[in-house]
Every structure is written in C-alpha cells, then in structure tokens.
Assembly symmetry: C2
Homo-oligomer: 256 residues x 2
Amino acid sequence: MCIQRPLILISNDDGHLAKGINELVGFLREMADIIVVAPDGPRSGMAAAITSQVPVTVSLVSQSPGVDIYKCSGTPVDCIKLALETVVPRKPDMVIGGINHGDNSAVNVHYSGTMGVVIEGCMKSIPSIGFSVCDHDPDLDFAPTRTYVQSIVRQVLERGIPVGTCLNVNFPQYAPYNGVKICRQTIGCWENEWATIPHPRGGGNIHWLTGNFANHEPHSTDTDKWALDNGYISITPIQIDMTAYPLLEKMKNWEF
Amino acid sequence: MCIQRPLILISNDDGHLAKGINELVGFLREMADIIVVAPDGPRSGMAAAITSQVPVTVSLVSQSPGVDIYKCSGTPVDCIKLALETVVPRKPDMVIGGINHGDNSAVNVHYSGTMGVVIEGCMKSIPSIGFSVCDHDPDLDFAPTRTYVQSIVRQVLERGIPVGTCLNVNFPQYAPYNGVKICRQTIGCWENEWATIPHPRGGGNIHWLTGNFANHEPHSTDTDKWALDNGYISITPIQIDMTAYPLLEKMKNWEF
C-alpha cells in the first residue's frame, strides 16, 4: 500500500535564513514533504501586503531529501501566491507561516507577515497555521515548541478545519508551558508607538516604530494575551470573513 | 453658541498627489476640518503593513483654511499611527481612507492599503470609513460619488458605529448608481495571478502580479461583489476581531 506523504508549503516574514523557519522544517520533515518559499530577507510587519508595482523573482536555494528551499524577492503573501502557481507540484495539504520570532497574538494578526502567509493559504482553501514565539531573539531556543508544533500540525492534517478559517498559534516567551488554550483575539491596541529623534543631518525629525500593547481587557481569561501572559500556548482560530454582521443588520435601517 | 467642527483625518494608499484623495478633501471641507497625512507616493496593496526596519518622516505639503496636507515616507498604516501621535491637535472624529482608485470589495479588504488605514483608525476607537471606486483610471471622474460620500460621512458622524467596527464602501465603475446596498464580504479569491516572462538580462523569470477575482458565490445577492456587479454602491461593515468563534468552540474538544 502506498500512502502519499502530506505536502506542506512553508513561508515566514523573517526570511529563509531565520532560525525559526529552519527549526520548523526540522520538526516536520519526518511527517511530510516540505517546500519552503520564503522572503530573501526580513519582511516583518508586512501584513498581507502584495507587490504590485515591480516584478518579483523566486530561486532555488537548496534541495535535500523531502525538503526544497526557495527564496523570493517579494512579500510573505507574494511567496505563497508565487509558490502555488509556479513552484509546487500539486496543491499542498497545508500552508504554515513561521516559526515567527515575535508575538502575533491579539491585533498583531493584522500587521503580521507570518499571518499574511496563513491568511493567503486560507484564501486558497488550504488548511493553514501560523506559529510564533513571543521573543524576538534571533538565536532563540525553539526546542520546547517541537512536540506542540508536531501535535497541532498532525491534528489539523487529520481532522481538518473549515474552509475560510485558519489558526494563529503563539508560544509564551518562557518554557515549560502550562498547556494549550483555545482563545479569542484580545481587544486592545498599540500605544506610544514612535521614538522621535532629530534627523542627524537636520531638517526635521525621524520616527522609529516602537510602542507597547495596551490590553483593553486584561481580566478576560478567554483571550490569547491572557493565555500567553499566564504561561499557556494560545491557539486563536481566525476567519477571513471580516464582515461585522450585527452592524450589517443595524445599517439596513439607514437611509442614503 | 459655538459648536466645534468635526476633525477628519484622511489618508490613502495612492499617495497624497492622487486625484481620489484630493477630490475627497473637496467633498468634505465644508462639513469638517481636515488633516491629510498620506504616503509620499503609491503604496497600493500594502495592507496593514508597518515600517519596522527603518525610520519614517512626515512633512507639511500645504495649508489652506481648514485643510492641512502632510506627506509621509511610510506605509498607509504608518501615516495614521504617526498622524495620531505627532500631527493632530486632538483625537479626530473620523478616519477616512480613499477615495481609492480601484476595487477594495471582497477579500481585497485584506490586501488594501486603503483598508489598512481604516482598520488602524478602527483599532484606535475612531469611526473609520474606506471609500473606493472600481476603476484604476488615475484621471477618474469622482463627481458621481460626491453626494453619497457626504451622506455616508454625515450619518456616521451623527449615528456613530460600534467600537471595533468600520465601513468598506465601494462604488461601481459606472454611474449613475442604482442605490446603496449593505453587504457582506464576498467569498472568493484571486486566480491566475502571475504574468511570467524571461528576465530581460537572462538567468530566470520575472513575475508580475495580475490575475482575476473568482467569485465563489456569484448568485448570492447579499454580497458586496453582487452589489457592485449590479450597479449598486456596496457598504460592507467590517470588524477587526477576526476570531472564528464556531471553530473556537469545536477545538475545545481537541487534545494537545
């Protein structure tokens, strides 16, 4: 009997050389064939951006048994779009973004290039997962995430998730973890977002993005931020339909 | 009696010189004070991207009674973040993205820099609206949109919309319009997305983003695509909470 191995398409927003994506490949290569199509350098905070003004390129970096790695000059979403049309031999069984160096919980889902990858996979009706660790250290130890990543990937491959939905998985900064919590997206926003300094050559200021996340519901125990703040791995199921249905019904009474 | 005029913060993804944003200012300057902080050039398809690797700048372009126009070196979302912390004299009563040259209905909400502007305003608890016309012509005639834009802005200022929600308004390519429909986001995705040609200097191919939108539910009359295809202005209420609640409940039975 010959059972085809699953095919997993992987990308990220930290670039193909980042530790997180290469650790992820190591965690999954025993259970699946893997194709990586990742940016040729860092693309953090690129959200679901696409490259519309200039052309993009994709080129093979390395091949080893069951693992092909490509780099792409575009955004994380470009990587998935280009991989699906020009690289993969068949429709992948899964798209994964990560493992990201940094927290993608709460409203970060909107800014994250890693989640851009996942949302694009989801749009193409492929079960898709984003993995992130709440730590920006480029040399982070990803070993504690291994068994959880494998278990989550295996279960999604076996059970499936509904078309139009995907998963945003975040690991706390420090292991050991207290377990896994299925969460909703925390309500909150970033504050004090700019470090402003005079331009070194004069003529005005320059502004660096920084800031701190303000959790508007710190006592809600069902949110992804609460889970992460309390040592749990958060899994936030995400949908690409952003319609606000209650407001839709209400606005039917407005007159234009 | 002195009633303060509303303050509206406007940005876009076509840049501060685009016709659409300047027409919008003309439509609204009688009813509100206006501050424009828009990209210094085209940023189409930038979604909710933020600039994390390099600093950004903002500088005054022009001032006329009730209208200040600034340009910013960053993304559409950077424009709003920077405006709110360093430009506006008080919290704006509204954030508007547009008027965009091009369709932002259906899943385009995820890719659109115009809707990035709107989602950012919404995150900051400011009533926010995106306006787009389904036509990329840089010299487009925006006059048919005028009374609708004014009516929608006035009603949102008066009635308000719930925190965490915003509006994605799209106009059909051709006027006169058949009216306004309150819609949900169409299910579908882009297909045949790449025009591939050999690199003019050899060594491989280059890929230009193109493609066509595949409407997966062309006969559903409650979607924004259906409205636009049938001559109606679509208003799609959008929420920033992307949690997939039905899947959340289902996954509580999974074991990790």
